[in-house]
Symmetry: C2
Subunit: 406 residues, 2 copies
């Protein structure tokens, strides 16, 4: 129940500053006139807001790009190097890291593989710190470092940053966000907070914000790695469930008489469409090689591989039917190897999707990630930018976290 209806002038100003900066961060350069039209604020208010953001160094004004008719108006542009975040996509077989600037530009990017012997949380943190050193080398001194975002293939309490369970890493109750912050502090002095999230949740947010599902409020992103994860956006917001653990669609049982899953259950969707399931189309023993090898073998005419791959495609379709009937989404984005798989066995998948209930089936499209392999990485950067974008002036003035050459 609303108890106070009057917002103070100061609250209004902060709200509007955040709205303008968010618009610039997601949508890119825009003229003051367009900001007036977009915000419904008057010209002088927009002018004051832009000036305030410019004084903080977060935006600049300059001539717009060619192509517009008449006198080019001044464009307000986010300054990618005014504020940066560190982003990590922590996968089972490797880690991808990036420095991303305000406006979403990736300034630098590194990738490291990981062996099973390096799964322990402390070794994982050490690798991440090593990557942070390399990434921050590219960043000019005195740049504002506003956050660190990490995506992890597991069940994460996003408020506390504790990884409750990551079956494919063997982690249980690992306070990963705190471990990363502590290790970064030891190396770099005062550092901003670390946000840790489920990898597929970040993928869903990134594809919804900047990717294949920009105009859709109901989106499912499926991360296809060693395991299968899911991020579900409903009505424009991430579905979290009671404890932030929602969206574990990889552990939806579709084949109860099938093989045991790493989670302890049997016949989870992950067991029939995870990377191991695809690789085992070539050989029944320990899966090796690459998903593309399997697809190539099928394309080369190996009937046995074709048949097994088609079966994986049917399992993919069966799980998609469930998601369509359960969630009635507009877009389902197939991340990781699932996109390759879909392209190879689209016919089998589509045939299964034909069994979904007509009404939700007619509203859904299956898409590949517009952000390529970086959906989770970009989602992690967005999670790290959130505090700056919601309180731009406070985040700049309260913070003393500058990237240094230490």
């Amino acid at each position: 129940m609303r108890t106070s209806l009057a917002a103070s002038q100061d609250e209004v100003r902060r709200y509007n500053l955040a709205a303008v900066l968010q618009r610039l961060h997601i949508g890119g350069p825009v003229s003051r006139s367009e900001l007036v039209a977009l915000t419904g604020l008057n010209r002088s208010t927009v002018g004051a807001l832009v000036t305030e953001l410019a004084e903080q160094g977060l935006v600049v004004e300059g001539p717009g790009v060619a192509g517009t008719v008449g006198r080019p108006s001044l464009m307000v542009m986010p300054q990618p190097r005014s504020a940066i975040v560190l982003a990590f996509d922590f996968r089972v077989d490797r880690t991808v890291g990036a420095v991303v600037g305000l406006g979403g530009e990736t300034i630098s990017r590194v990738e490291r593989s990981r062996q099973r012997s390096e799964f322990a949380p402390d070794l994982s943190v050490a690798q991440l710190i090593d990557m942070a050193h390399e990434l921050l080398e590219e960043v000019p001194e005195e740049t504002l470092w506003v956050g660190t975002g990490v995506g992890v293939p597991g069940i994460v309490n996003e408020r506390t940053g504790v990884v409750s369970q990551a079956p494919n890493l063997g982690w249980i109750d690992v306070p990963f966000a705190q471990m990363v912050t502590d290790a970064l502090r030891k190396e770099f002095g005062e550092v901003p907070a670390t946000v840790t999230s489920n990898d597929a949740d970040l993928g869903a947010l990134a594809e919804h914000t900047r990717g294949a599902a920009v105009d859709s409020g109901n989106v499912i992103y499926i991360s296809g790695e060693v395991g299968i994860g899911g991020g579900v956006v409903l009505g424009g917001a991430l579905m979290t469930g009671a404890g932030g653990f929602g969206g574990e669609i990889g552990h939806m049982i579709v084949n109860p008489t099938g093989v045991e899953c790493r989670c302890g259950s049997r016949g989870c969707w992950e067991t029939v469409i995870g990377r191991g399931a695809v690789l085992s189309c070539i050989q029944d023993s320990k899966p090796v090689g690459d998903v593309q090898d399997v697809i190539n073998a099928a394309l080369a005419g190996d009937a046995d591989v074709q048949e097994r791959l088609a079966a994986v495609g049917r399992w993919l379709g069966i799980g998609l039917v469930n998601l369509i009937n359960i969630f009635n989404p507009e877009v389902i984005v197939l991340g990781g190897h699932l996109g390759q798989l879909f392209s190879a066995v689209a016919e089998e998948v589509e045939e299964q999707i034909g069994h979904a209930l007509r009404a939700p089936r007619e509203q859904v499209r299956v898409a590949l990630p517009a952000l390529g392999e970086d959906s989770t990485l970009i989602g992690a950067s967005e999670s790290a930018f959130a505090s700056l974008l919601s309180r731009p002036i406070e985040a700049v003035s309260e913070s003393s976290t500058f990237v240094t050459s230490k």
Copy 2:
């Protein structure tokens, strides 16, 4: 982006009137002092709001019930007979109807069975009209009739009231809300709007608002009738999906090598836990009789029935694992025959639930409906009250829909 920050005095008054009436409708009688505490408004504002609602006849003030210490304060009470709705729970084998008064009191209730030969939409509407006559006989003349709510076991576009697909009734694209309104108008003259919704969605809202999940924001209600439906409340709001078709958990495929479902797919959850699956525990041929007969046979020691019923219990558990992993709910309410089934085979169900991921499993409880068999019926009445509760004064003054003795 917020364009107007100042709410007019009139908007504030209407907002507060609605808030007070909603509180009375759901929570029952309350003193002015408690309203002051609950709303954060001052005493004179609360007094003016109560007076305005009393002038419309929606509430009265009177002495509170005994049991309080000191001088009993005046209680503000909703007036059940000041405004009523018609509510119908339209099931495959029967229809339940009720007149419900402001505050949620059921004033009268009737139930009619339905044969397969009476599934046609026009025959269904005729039955409903017949029941409306009987129900409204109990209502005093000049009572305000503010809406009609109908729950249907099918996929419903809740904005248009069109039943897109109801596999167990054989309906496709039936504009049921409009048909009901037209038929009511023919009988009763000017009538309020009819709201048509999925039966399980209404069950979920009712159990969340007045039932087994009052304190939980993430709730799944499973309707167990001939078919299996689902209503999902997330963060306190009903999950609808892109077109209002979300929540069809009965058509989640769990047994792809199983029998064909009425929806055209194979191995839907409905095929292994629907009423037919339970009844077939007694005989493999056409299911007849009652779910309780099956449970009684198992209790009486029929080993064959016990074994088959245990298998149904395992299927119930497998689907619940999926819902726990996908949604991370706090409460799952088992409606219809699923409650009886659960009580009979709790051990098998719990054993399966043990395979859900630990974090969401630790947060969930499985419950029986606190509203008994009337979850959907009460949800339908709430859907019909929504317009009055959101705009009480306008709804009273603009409406000329009084129950008459016609």
